[in-house]
Symmetry: C2
Subunit: 219 residues, 2 copies
Amino acid sequence: MEIKEFFPIWDKMTAGQQEALVSGARRQVLKKGTVIHRDTEDCAGLLLLEEGQLRAYMLSEEGREITVYRLLEGDICLFSASCMIRSLQSDIVIEAERDSRMWVISPGVYRKLMDESALIANYTNEIMASRLTDVMWLMEQVMWKSLDRRLASFLLEEADLEGSGSLKITHEMISNHLGTAREVVTRMLRYFQSEGMVRLSRGAVEITDRKKLEKLGQI
Amino acid sequence: MEIKEFFPIWDKMTAGQQEALVSGARRQVLKKGTVIHRDTEDCAGLLLLEEGQLRAYMLSEEGREITVYRLLEGDICLFSASCMIRSLQSDIVIEAERDSRMWVISPGVYRKLMDESALIANYTNEIMASRLTDVMWLMEQVMWKSLDRRLASFLLEEADLEGSGSLKITHEMISNHLGTAREVVTRMLRYFQSEGMVRLSRGAVEITDRKKLEKLGQI
C-alpha cells in the first residue's frame, strides 16, 4: 500500500504536505510477537499498517492482559506516536500479532503537519475519536455483557480474522484477550463443547455450530 | 468565567475566530438532575462549564450505571457536541450533578472553526485525548482493581469534591457510580464501618479515618 492510500484527505493536501509525509516515512517489518510500544515514553511514530495485524492491550501490574482493539491492513496506529499529543497518557502495549509490514512516520514530522494543517489535525481527530469509541464499546462489553456472550463473540471474530473455524489458540491466550482468568475460560469452553458449539483439542478450538454461537453472542 | 478563559490558545486565535466563539455561544443554566445529553443524536453543542458539576456515565439496557468522568468548573464537554466528529459514537449520558451554569457553543459554529484553524482543531484533539485517557484509566480500575480499593478512592474523591467528610449519598448512588450492585456496596461499606473507616447512617456516609481509607485506596 502506498502512503496516500491511508489518507482519504490526500488529494486535499498541498504538494508540500504530501512530500513531507512521504519523505518522513520509512518501511518497517515486524516479526509476529514483537512489541513496538510499551511505555508512555515509547514514541516510534505513526504506524500505517500495510499488511499483518497489531494488537493493542492493557497490562496489569500482575501481568494480566485485556485486548483493547486490533489494527488491520489500512489502519493507522496513533498510540505509538502518543508523545505528539500531550493529554494522551496510557500504558497500552502494541504488539505484532502476525508478521507485519508498515510505514512508520516520525512523530516530529507528523506533529508539524498537524500544527500547520487543520485538515490533517481534523483527520487525526477522527482517528482518535474512533479509538475512543472502541474503548467505550469495550468498557460496555466488560461492564454489562456476561462472559459467555463475550467469549462467543470473540471466537466468531477470531474465525473471521483467520478465515477459518479452526482456531489455533490456547485457553491462556483467550483469557488474555478477554481479561479474565484461564480457569474461567476453560470452564466456559467445556460448557460450549457440551452444547455442541465447539470441539476442543490441545491448543485449538474448532467452531462446530456457528449459528448457535452467533445467537449467544448477539443476545 | 469568560469564554476566553476556557481556551488557553485564545491569544493565538484571530480576532474573527474569537468573535465567532463569543457570538456563537449562549449561557445556559441546568438544575441538578437535568440530563443534557442522552443519545448519539443529541447534539446541544460544546459545553464550557462555568459553575457546578456534570457527570458522564454509561447506562446499560437494564438500567445499570457507571460514572465515566466528572466535569468541573473550567472543563469543556465534547461529547455533547459529538455530531461534530463523525467517528465519535457512544451512548454516554451527561447529567448535571449540581445546579450548573455554562456556555453552550453551537456545534455548527465550532465545527467551522475546527475546519479553518489547525490551532483550534489541535486544541480539540487535546480535549479528546484527555477523555480517552480518562476512559482508559477507568478501564484499568474496573479490570484490575478490587472493589474495596475503588470504593475507598471513590469516597475520598467525593469528600474532596464536596469539601466535607460527611457525604449525603445513598448506597444506590454509590453503586451507580461504580457500576456494581447495591448489595455489594452495602456489604463493603459495613466492612469499612467495622474497620472504623466510616460511620453509616440513613442516606449518608461519614469518613472517620481518612488515612486508613487513603492507604486502602492506594494499594
